[in-house]
């Protein structure tokens, strides 16, 4: 029973073996470039680039689609509103609702861009175990307090979840059946409050344990990364990809509208 499943980080593909610092920087770069795209051809080329990375990552397509589906459920909501609320050339109107070409284009743009960014994150970030991610962030000089928050959350989410489960089971074995009643809400209130109190106590004990081991407010990195030749090749590939996506956004629409 684990809360954090890191199935995507298990693998031995090219992207799994790439230096995690490089992957972090690439993901940031590609996500930024994609976020500022304004045209459909640009967004489409970004998505194609992301699909290339997906191919390189060797992740199972079905599992990735499952994850994308979750987010696309939210994007689906936008398709309900954007095409009708964006002003522009009407394509179709019925019951007082006007469907515009601009609206559809906007919804499509959002869909393509979100999926491309998600794929970049899945292929570049999810293929790194959280622990390594922390080490990479540290090597990239991300503020250590932020990094510490990430790693401690990762470490203790599991413990807190188990604590909650134990209490929930304790309630169940004494015949508690959740329903829609003030008593149910109160019970859940007690449960969560206990988890909170326990977590606070635990935080104090952990801090004491850290003090006993000479903690003086500074964390020291243990991990050292080494950039290989393949990493350099991948770095060049990522930068080229980012430039191509950017150019596609600027140049392709000329043919598209013509």
């Amino acid at each position: 029973m684990t809360v954090i499943k890191e199935t995507f980080s298990e693998g031995s593909s090219l992207l799994h073996r790439t230096d995690p610092r490089l992957k972090l920087v690439s993901a940031f770069l590609l996500a930024c470039v994609t976020a500022v795209l304004t045209t459909i051809p640009g967004a489409l080329s970004s998505l194609i680039g992301a699909l290339c990375l997906l191919f390189l990552s060797g992740l199972l397509l079905l599992q990735v689609l499952k994850r994308l589906l979750l987010v696309n459920a939210f994007i689906g909501m936008m398709w309900l509103f954007l095409p009708f609320t964006t002003p522009g050339n009407p394509l179709f109107s019925q019951f007082g609702l006007i469907l515009t070409r601009e609206g559809i284009e906007l919804a499509l743009l959002v869909t393509l861009k979100s999926n491309a960014i998600l794929l970049f994150m899945i292929t570049l970030i999810s293929t790194t175990p959280t622990v390594t991610l922390g080490q990479a962030l540290d090597a990239l000089h991300v503020p250590e307090k932020l990094n510490f928050l990430l790693l401690i959350s990762y470490r203790y989410l599991e413990v807190i979840f188990q604590e909650y489960n134990r209490l929930a089971i304790a309630a169940r074995v004494r015949g508690f059946v959740p329903g829609t009643s003030p008593r149910t809400y109160r019970t859940y209130g007690y449960l969560l409050a206990m988890v909170l109190v326990n977590s606070f106590d635990r935080a104090q004990r952990v801090y004491q344990a850290m003090l006993l081991r000479g903690f003086q407010g500074r964390f020291y990195a243990l991990h050292e990364f080494h950039i290989s030749f393949t990493d350099w090749v991948i770095a060049v590939f990522m930068i080229t990809l980012a430039i191509l996506i950017f150019l596609a956004d600027k140049l392709l629409p000329v043919f598209y509208t013509a």
Binding site: T130, R155, Q208
Partner: protein
Amino acid sequence: MTNNAPLLILEDISFSYPGSRQPVLNSLDFRLGGNQRVGLIGPNGQGKTTFLHVCLGLLPLQSGRVLFKGTQIRTKHDLRQLRRNIGLVFQNPEDQLFCPTVLEDVAFGPLNLGFTPAQARERAAEVLDVVGLSGFEKRITHKLSGGEKKLLSLATILAMQPRALLLDEPTAGLDPDTREKVIRIIKNLNLGLLIVSHDWDFLYQTTAELKTLEQGKLINRDRNVLHQHVHYHPSGHVPHEHETGRQAVVGGR
């Protein structure tokens, strides 16, 4: 051994929790030598853990003083020296292991003491070998079994190369195999020991002296009594004495 001068001396220590009339520790005296092995036994809620925490300054002193190698602990620097030399292993390893990987957790202490990453790795490998967790370096801490976590939390403290160890219920919740392992490891340590436990047999195997904490004071107990009576009977968990052939030994300092 020449290091039999007391490492840790507690003089006239008192401590009570706010809102409680009964002091947990009541002008208590204690000393621990560099190769002294002391067991501390007694019912829950008698302040055994509080005592350990007061020893290392995790709880503020309300009266009395703590001396490390004859020097009174006054400043933060003294406290760091004390904690570096006297290790405390918590009852619950979850409280002690907070790094994502085994290696990072063991290396945390040495790195804080100013070791280079390479030295810290070396030290980590040594202590992991001592507790039988060689090859666990890259494992994720929270995915270890309860027994492995216990052994690891011991390793993280040993990595500081302490002169003495304070252990809080080291066998609580362990399976017989891991318990045996812990006994073997502790027996092989050449350190001062203060072990708090309910496990009579464990204390018999690992320590040479026995004390109980009663009404805020430490009382020496005759260890032979413990030796002859590893057994079960009603209320066996309450500290008690048995007829030993001679007069029943009660207290006795």
